[in-house]
Amino acid sequence: MFFHPKLRVEDFEAAAMPHFPDLYRTARLLAQDRAEAEDLVQEVYLEAWKSFHRFQAGTNCRAWLFKILFHRLHHFRRRWAKAAKVEAFENPEDQDHLIAETPVPQEIRDEDVLQALGKVPIEFREVVLLADVQEFSYKEIAETMKLPLGTVMSRLSRGRKLLRQELAGVAQAFGITPAKDPPRAGESA
């Protein structure tokens, strides 16, 4: 294609800039610091504009931008180097539902969430953020992250549990007591 008649930066901005807050928030919770997050978001937009002629109007611009975000993020992090670490967390025969859920503090402070989230390995954090904050469907996450659907589901489940565990640990360290559940019949300590 030599010429795209609609290739105007105004059109690109109209389609892409409304997603700027979501992209920034996700980047901020995945990047190591604010500067890295800002660089990341900026690169996403410049990269997206360069390939805007390949974007089909009417398709999901938000998902497209997130796909670029994760592509850039993984490029930064050289994700492959951490593959072994991820596998250690991923167990296809996940029997976690048999393990008692970690108690969750009644009052969850923002700083505790941030601290706990920082301790969750990024591969799980990504999926949790896409599902729980950005409300992407499993299918959209699978396409965005280029992962099999089963892996998305297992990472989401595991990621939520890890976050909950870290949250409980952080809360306990600050003397915040977990919500007290009444004892359940048949539950053993």
Binding site: V9, E38, V41, Q42, L98, I99, L129, D132, S137
Partner: protein, 317 residues
């Protein structure tokens, strides 16, 4: 770590679905099962509430990350800088390659056209130079015409029987011009013979010249200034010349009148002259310059009047 020992297998089954339930990914039937169970199971309800609380806290934290306005502005500034001009933007490389191809193709085409035009002009100029050289050397520099027009009988005699008939055509088709002289001549240094009508009108001298083709051929196409009569024009040596072709002859109208007037005169004159020349060449009385006795300059029997018409001493163009 605590291990649950559910008495209810249903609790275990429902909790396996809680992640998908929280993400709204369950089928309608399974969602109904989960909801029915939650209504009657306080433990599972609390578990769902705990998970929801974590999720809501996460959402709250995410929303509290305020996107910097300066970052948005910086991105937009950079995007504007990358706004494509006609050849800019994301397809810059594609445009550059396309432009290069166009330049090469058009450049090659233009060069070829330019060469063709130049070649065509050279051919037209070289052919029309034949007429211009005779006009300049015989009529202008040689002044081989009387101030008072020679009588038609003399002109017909000088032209010989082969060309005498052309005199009437020239007289008829050149209103406002007086035929002062008509003869067969040549220019020094060239064996070529010319049938030369020297006329006066519009305050100047105008020549009508015919010569036999010796392989010369005018180019077709755009060099024709008047397609209906097959006219060519050129500006040479300060003269404007219009030329035409018949089967065996080249014809010229040469004067210092404007190109437009020269072409207009030639437009009137060329068709009847061409017709007469073509008819003559097809008949037994074939026009042949060499057959005219006095055209053989310097040979025995050439009259003084004709000898004068050989335009001696004028260099060949």
């Amino acid at each position: 770590m605590n291990v649950l020992n559910f008495n209810s297998e249903q609790c275990a089954r429902i909790r396996r679905h809680l992640d998908a339930y929280l993400s709204n990914e369950l089928l309608v039937e399974t969602t109904s099962d989960v909801l029915r169970h939650l209504e009657s199971c306080e433990a599972c309800s609390r578990e769902l509430e705990a998970r929801t609380r974590v999720r809501d806290a996460l959402r709250r934290v995410a929303v509290s990350q305020i996107p910097p306005e300066e970052l948005r502005q910086s991105i937009q500034r950079q995007l504007r800088k990358m706004q494509p001009g006609f050849f800019g933007g994301p397809q810059r490389l594609t445009w550059a390659v396309a432009l290069l191809i166009i330049v090469v193709v058009l450049g090659g085409f233009a060069t070829e056209q330019w060469i063709r035009v130049q070649r065509g002009r050279r051919i037209v100029a070289s052919v029309l130079a034949l007429g211009v050289s005779d006009h300049l050397q015989c009529a202008i520099k040689g002044h081989n015409y009387p101030n008072i027009a020679n009588p038609p009988e003399k002109l017909r005699q000088q032209l010989g029987p082969q060309y005498a008939g052309l005199l009437e055509v020239v007289q008829q088709k050149l209103p406002g011009f007086e035929v002062l002289e008509a003869h067969i001549c040549s220019v020094q240094g060239s064996p070529r013979k010319y049938v030369h009508f020297i006329t006066r009108g519009h305050g100047t001298i105008l020549s009508v010249i015919l010569t036999r083709r010796e392989g010369e051929q005018l180019p077709n196409g755009k060099w024709l200034v008047s397609g209906s009569v097959g006219l060519y024009e050129a500006h040479l040596e300060g003269m404007n010349a219009a030329g035409f072709e018949s089967k065996e002859y080249l014809g010229f109208v040469v004067s210092d009148l404007s190109p437009a007037i020269t072409v207009q005169i030639a437009t009137e004159l060329a068709p009847p002259l061409k017709a007469a020349l073509d008819a003559g060449t097809g008949s037994e009385a074939r026009l042949d310059l060499d057959a005219v006795p006095f055209a053989r300059g310097g040979s025995a029997g050439v009259s003084p009047a004709v000898a004068r018409a050989t335009c001696p001493g004028v260099p060949v163009l």
